[in-house]
Amino acid sequence: MDFYFGLAQIIGVHTLIGLSAYIVLLTGQVSLAQAGFFAVGAYAAGMLTVLAGWAILPALAASALLGAAVACAVGFPALRVKGLMLVIATLAFGEGVRLFFFNFDYQVAKGGVKLGPLGGEGFRQIRYFPENGWTTMDVMLFIWAFVVLTMALLWWFDRSRYGAVLRAVGEDELAAQSVGLNLTAVKVSAMTVGGAIAGLGGGIYAHYTTHIEHASFGILLATFAIAYPILGGLGSVFGTLLAAVFVQGFLVEGLRFLGDWRNLLFGALIVVAMNVRPRGFLDAPTLLWLKRLFARTGGGSGAA
């Protein structure tokens, strides 16, 4: 059973980082910086519980705030450029953060053991959960509480004017300006919310793996972050969840019997999926269709 709880933990954290990219993608910007915000959150939360002795909730709150602050600070200069230049600028930022932690030493002796981040060795012994007697199931439920909370928040955004504004900027920047929207403010706000979600996800990740190192926060993680919402479709937050479950649950774990071939399948599936459904699985027309289907059969309000 613990195996499935562990899997659910991975899916939960990946959903969070996917959601952090989702809100930025709504404004039409591709950010490869999400892994960087994630790393900042992971190291910050880890250091707060291990070195400063904070409890988990305030540590996570701090990592989310820090992620938001870093994202906002990066967003202001970075969002002056758009399209491909932004992809590369955020890539550079994300890699910069990773390399920073690669060179980052901050060790404090505690009870005869030296604890804290140690460059390429990483940051070991983030043992808040085991020390406080949490079972795998407790941790899993804890993670999913945050996933549900985040999804609820983004779903609410989506139904509000803010969500429509984000999408309007993503659709046509010139037209958005012409109806009085401040592009910079809208994009930076999305980046900030995304940074908070990524920081939160990173903080959670640091505690359930207990050992973080710079290599986990590389380009691959940044790519996964944008892959979930793009594959799942930008029509709804549920697309990102679906994609994370599909990729981490089915492709990575479910196909384990295929051995190495599974990795081949992953790349190929992305290519095929993008050819068949360029707008992702849950796009706006599909959602509209689903909504009407539910309305016609009278099957309740419909989650989408």
Partner: protein, 292 residues
């Protein structure tokens, strides 16, 4: 001072391969306004295909290996076009971006799978030659890499500026719709661009293998990142810009490595790139009419 010069010259010579990769990214961007994230992986893949010759014909001369890498690179370029660009509507930039990322992972994994992830030795030429001027040396293999790369760039520039195909390519890159109205088959030009950049990539991959001495799937990610950096610094869509930026990045990174060590080197490169991008987004030599 001597150390500095040595590091700089080695870096600039090796930088010629970065220039080739940068040209590949920049040409595709110029013609289609899309980025081909699979390009670095396809280049390494092409270089690996070159090694297949050694399976068939043990002890084949390095030149044959390089030539096969060149051809295989072209074929891979066409495959990438077909799978990631041909069928996906142009109005969906995210889908093409993601598809090329998928292709990157796929090529990477095919390499890992067939070689069991082990680095493979790559043949080189003139690796026993050393030019010495006092303490200062020029490695023969690096000079060969530089010479081959320069030859390829010259060939490309001749193709772009001296042939009808090049004219059509430049026309599409400047005004796609107008080119279409003039009877240029844009789809065909796009496909050709991918083949040409693929050919260049195959050579670049082979040259990197030759100067490092081994090929490994671990090369693809740094190569992709370096290629993007070169493209951006040179200005999106500018071929001469990519050449100069490639040599610059090669020299710069080699010098930084000398003074700051290999672990810190990339950190400075990344920070510099971020600052560069944000405050000089047009690149060193921004191409006229370059869009976002």
């Amino acid at each position: 001072m001597l150390d500095f010069l040595q590091a700089l010259s080695d870096g600039v010579l090796f930088g010629a391969t970065y220039a080739l990769i940068g040209i590949g990214f920049t040409l595709v961007f110029g013609v289609m306004h899309k980025i081909n994230m699979a390009y670095g992986a396809a280049s390494v893949g092409g270089a690996y295909c070159g090694l297949l010759v050694l399976q068939v014909m043990a002890g084949a001369p390095p030149l044959v290996v390089f030539f096969c890498a060149f051809l295989a690179g072209g074929l891979l370029g066409w495959l990438v076009y077909l799978t990631c660009f041909h069928f996906i509507p142009i109005t969906n930039p995210l889908a093409t971006l993601m598809a090329t990322v998928g292709m990157l992972l796929l090529i990477d994994e095919i390499i890992v799978h067939t070689t069991a992830g082990m680095p493979m030795a790559y043949p080189a030429m003139f690796d026993d030659v050393m030019l010495r001027v006092g303490e200062f040396t020029l490695r023969g293999d690096l000079m060969m890499v530089f010479a081959v790369s320069v030859l390829c760039m010259a060939g490309l520039l001749a193709l772009l500026y001296r042939t009808r195909l090049g004219l059509a390519t430049r026309a599409v890159s400047q005004q796609t719709v107008a080119a279409l109205l003039c009877g240029i088959r844009v789809g065909q030009v796009n496909a050709t661009t991918f083949v040409v950049t693929g050919l260049l990539g195959g050579i670049a991959g082979a040259m990197i293998g030759a100067s490092v001495g081994t090929l490994s799937p671990l090369l693809t990610t740094p190569l992709t990142v370096k290629g993007l950096i070169v493209t951006v610094i040179g200005g999106l869509g500018s071929v001469p810009g990519a050449i100069i930026a490639g040599l610059m990045v090669g020299g710069f990174e080699s010098v930084l490595q000398l003074y700051r060590g290999v672990t810190e080197r990339d950190l400075y490169v990344m920070l510099l790139l971020f600052v560069f991008l944000v405050f000089r987004p047009g690149g060193l030599f921004a191409a006229k009419g370059g869009r976002d």
